[in-house]
Assembly symmetry: C2
Homo-oligomer: 640 residues x 2
């Protein structure tokens, strides 16, 4: 007990092995249940039929049961008469065949003479139209092997084979203890510093999907004795315990020490990223796992470690996640020390599956929601090169990925609305977008990472939008521009600061706290262009270095009082109830390779943007001009 | 009402279309639920965040929050001292950053001077190590589109985005009414003529898997008024009703007439096989479907028609079942009138996926349990030729099929035991067997349909087993024989008939009722050989024409009193508690192409048959000699 086992960098496989060495619960993991409740349960032993089906010879047709010998010689010319109760009896499908009969003649082959007599015109073969005893299942026959997940049809075979109850693997019961003084229940009145507790709900859902049963305990504050009390209770009530978090650097010794005092810690730290600071131990012979607090770390620990343990307990054969070969859009570097999980977006662009790495922040729940797949970078590998072929584990179905319009480029909230309308109109159609700025969109088109790129790029020399960039960066690519909207860009401020801002120079003059957009975004290019026009040095903008990735993020930072102003579009200002000082109109268009115009989801895209419903939504949002929406405005050859 | 709509041969697609035209329930199919209960539910509307996450700027690290300006110029040579509460405050990961600070320095980069002072040796960049408000989710941002099935991680994003309840599609509630005077509950004391009711349990499980809720009503006898009463009740309590059966020929007008009286029948009969006599109607504006009674018919109606209706109601996009291209092992003929569903066995033999058609009987539950896939033969197509490439819908995972040892040939109960032991030893290993007799096994090897074939084929000229057949029918194929067991074949009789049988000729002499095995089976060949030896004319055997496909089926027919005797192996007689009169020993061996000996599941097969556990089981069964089990006994070259 209490031996020092702080192993910071053991591999995932070793961790699972160490776990299996230390925990043994195969003896208490089966139970007897009713067959009618056995859907999706796993057989613990092979199941043999207890009775035959049918358990008597029965008629396979509606007709009469007869004695074949009495029918011999019947023909069209030599019809034979059969008498009821002497030569035949009536039978319906499924009726038993009495022992004295050996054949069934279908109703269609009988010619009625009177109420008790039939003529027949061909002889009956012995055993024709009879389902013999055991035709489907013979008593003692194997119905299901052990470790078989019971499907609906299996249940039918069990019941008809006389199996009314059977031995299955128990559903593992897992207690989840959320800990932390700062965490609060969803729906609580929130104050700054509170963190909404949701990991436990994600865990419980994962456990349910894997075939376990989760018990979620109340939140426990960061207090050694209270955590200990909760673990003792859970270890009496459950087969396994998850503690979340208390494995992060600030307070990790809390969880470790509680487990050490009550039982044993046999592992702390696994060489995966995100997810490293996991704790494996046992209390009362039950496994106890300390899960890190960051949701993405927690997710990967659950999927790659806890799931294996659940499968062991529940007799489930691990099924490898569906994976596909994809071409990597960008280089991915990773530490040699860790097995890293990189979230990626996937798209079939130009008939090739392309994987674009997403944000690697462990706190980014949405990056996981929006991810299409996970790229594993094994330990001792530095990463993968751009264009390299890699294997990607899918988070969505292959069919969904095949039917997804990939949209990488500048952000505008209307892209989400378009995606929603496409999917509502045709539920096999998806739009998946990544916000990397207009210039990022141009590069994604160049590398065949995306089908379309929404862009608004100002050419400083001409003051025109978009065309010049396509000509410069996508030469020879046959790119068309579909007109989307003209939108108003301006300065966003809270209502109380309205008086301080009339024009761009007021930001400097009134020393307003500003928030910028990221490099490569059309809005950043516009801002820099305007500053140059006014001869303002960016260094004099208070907050020029702070970057946000979307209009909404800028608007939220202003609304929250975090900063005083920023540049963005009218609809974002309106959404966050901000004042808006218009600066300029800009063209927000869709760049697309000509060859993609005929793709079904591109057609759906065009259908949606030219629909009255979408135009109504643009009108409600405000700040958009959509007169020419859906028109191809470039290149000239295509238009003519 | 009551218009005559008996349409015997409408296509499946038309049937679904007709259904959609007649039923509209989109207005009552959503409900509000708590987010924490939303796993696997389908969003009814797009979901936008109600708050940002984080909703304040927070620290991404354990360390201190500071003012970046105060750190400018810090270097190894020019360390700067920071004072607590003036220049910095302590923060842990997740703690809020007060407005006066704009940067976080990690604990690792601080040099402690005293309790309230740190030295730093590099300057802090504004916004470093800070998670800005909305970094994960910005208020008003789209979290999930409509018609999205909620995954565990989605639940996390919803909760952190302030969504504690949401609008989802209702789970459709389906009432199931089992009808029939002959059907009884599982577990009832059975008498001849009873049929165990299990279809309703299969339906309920299917509905659960599709995301609906099933209510199973009590069995209703075949009585017009009682069925009517049950339908009225269900139409008040459920969104949809299934009646099973009452759509079969004998009594079909019962169900049809009840629906007609209470509402409307708009379709009767769909051009699919099995499954044809289905009824679509409505009562109280709720869909009512009459499902045929044969379990396989019912299954295909459920999967191909009812499922679509459930998906419509529940907002679920139909996902095509996973399918693969396979080579057809045998010609499949089908009526031009029907879209036929043919159950097939699948195996990767010689790196090619081969589909072998299985029994087409609609009452054969086990043929569905044992099937690996379904071959669709569309209407207006006569069938497919042997060797033709066809598309097969999978009933098992591709991985399972890839890891399956295909075993086609003669039947012996020990084959099931071997499969069970293989899977128990390695849960990624499966054995799938089809019983087509020894000669069928030889043909399956010839056509590359199987990995192995268990055979016991007597060469009448030499009295030897197996070799001769391989040499004759599998010339040039490089087939090896693995010794399995020598087993005793004999005559099985019930104990009370023991006195009547001492030798084969007694069957004729005492005019005993006999049951035979199918043509091509080794046992049949043996029987015919013995008859010839004794100069007995098969026509003098009472029951020579009646064929069963397995030893157990023969034994069951005898045990049941259905017939008096049959030929088979000792273990089958013992299982059914029969007397056994030994006739001969025979070699039951495994024929296998040499090239397959290195396949992992073949190695597992050898491992199992040579294990002590298997030998113990053979001993318990009795009648097997296993001295040389696992040895390669042919051809000579391989042995030497």
């Amino acid at each position: 007990m209490n031996r020092n086992v702080y192993l910071s960098n053991i591999t995932l496989e070793e961790a699972i092995e160490r776990f299996r060495e230390n925990i043994n619960y195969t003896e208490k993991n089966s139970e007897k249940i009713n067959t009618i409740d056995s859907l999706d349960r796993i057989t613990h032993v092979p199941i043999f039929a207890e009775m035959s089906s049918p358990f008597y010879n029965s008629s396979a047709m509606d007709g009469v049961a007869t004695i074949s010998e009495k029918t011999y010689g019947a023909s069209e010319k030599n019809r034979i008469i059969l008498n009821e109760n002497i030569d035949f009896i009536h039978v319906d499908t499924g009726d038993p065949i009495p022992k004295e009969f050996d054949s069934v003649i279908m109703i269609e082959d009988l010619i009625k003479v009177d109420e008790t007599k039939f003529q027949i015109y061909k002889s009956a073969v012995p055993w024709q139209n009879i389902r013999p005893l055991g035709e489907d299942i013979v008593e003692s026959q194997l119905i299901l092997s052990s470790k078989h997940k019971i499907r609906p049809i299996d249940m039918g075979a069990l019941l008809t084979g006389g199996i009314n109850e059977l031995e299955v693997y128990k559903k593992i019961s897992i207690g989840i203890i959320p800990t932390g003084t700062e965490i609060v229940e969803p729906g609580s009145k929130l104050k700054v510093g509170d963190i909404i507790e949701f990991n436990s709900r994600v865990f419980a859902s994962q456990i349910k999907q894997w075939g376990g049963v989760a018990t979620r305990y109340n939140i426990v504050e960061d207090n050694y004795e209270k955590i200990k009390e909760a673990v003792v209770k859970a270890s009496q009530e459950c087969d396994m315990i998850l503690i979340n978090a208390g494995s992060s650097a600030g307070r990790e010794d809390f969880t470790v020490d509680v487990i050490k005092e009550l039982g044993e810690v046999f592992l702390h730290g696994v060489a995966i990223k995100p997810g490293k600071p996991v704790i494996l131990g046992k209390v009362n012979d039950k496994p106890v796992i300390g899960i890190p607090g960051y949701p993405v770390s927690a997710y990967f620990i659950m999927e790659n470690l806890v799931k294996k343990i659940v499968e062991d307990f529940c007799g489930i054969a691990t099924v490898n996640k569906k994976s596909l070969k994809a071409t990597l859009a960008r280089r991915v570097m990773s530490s040699l020390k860790y097995h890293e999980f990189v979230r990626v977006k996937l798209g079939y662009v130009n008939e090739k599956l392309v994987a674009t790495p997403l944000s690697r922040g462990a706190g980014q729940t949405m990056s996981l929601v929006n991810a299409d797949g996970v790229l594993h970078v094994p330990q001792n590998i530095e990463g993968f090169e751009e264009r390299e072929e890699v294997q990607v584990e899918l988070l969505k179905s292959e069919e969904e990925i095949k039917n997804t319009l990939v949209c990488i480029g500048s952000h505008d909230p209307i892209i989400d609305i378009i995606g929603e309308l496409m999917h509502a109109d045709n539920d096999r159609c998806f739009l998946s977008s990544a916000h990397v700025g207009s210039f990022g969109g141009i590069m994604a088109l160049k590398n065949y990472e995306t089908h379309i790129a929404p862009i608004h790029l100002l050419d400083e020399t001409t003051g025109n939008y978009n065309n010049a960039y396509i000509e410069k960066y996508l030469k020879g690519k046959n790119i068309a521009l579909i007109k989307l909207v003209d939108r108003v860009q301006g300065i966003m401020v809270r209502k109380e600061n309205k008086a301080k801002v009339n024009q761009l120079s007021d930001i400097v003059d009134n020393k307003l706290k500003f928030v910028n957009r990221q490099r490569g975004s059309g809005t950043r290019i516009l801002f820099d262009y305007k500053l140059k026009e006014l001869n303002i040095n960016p260094r004099n903008i208070n907050g020029y270095e702070r970057e946000e990735f979307t209009h909404l993020a800028v608007a939220a930072a202003i609304a929250n009082g975090d900063v005083e102003c920023g540049l963005g579009i009218y609809s974002a200002a309106k959404t966050m109830n901000l004042e808006f000082i218009p600066l300029t109109h800009e063209c927000y268009d869709i760049a697309i390779p000509l060859e993609f115009l005929e793709l079904p989801f591109v057609k759906e895209f065009i259908k949606v943007i030219t629909s009255d419903e979408f135009k109504r939504k643009l009108k409600d949002l405000g700040g958009y001009d959509y007169k020419h929406i859906g028109e191809i405005i470039y290149p000239q050859e295509v238009i003519e």
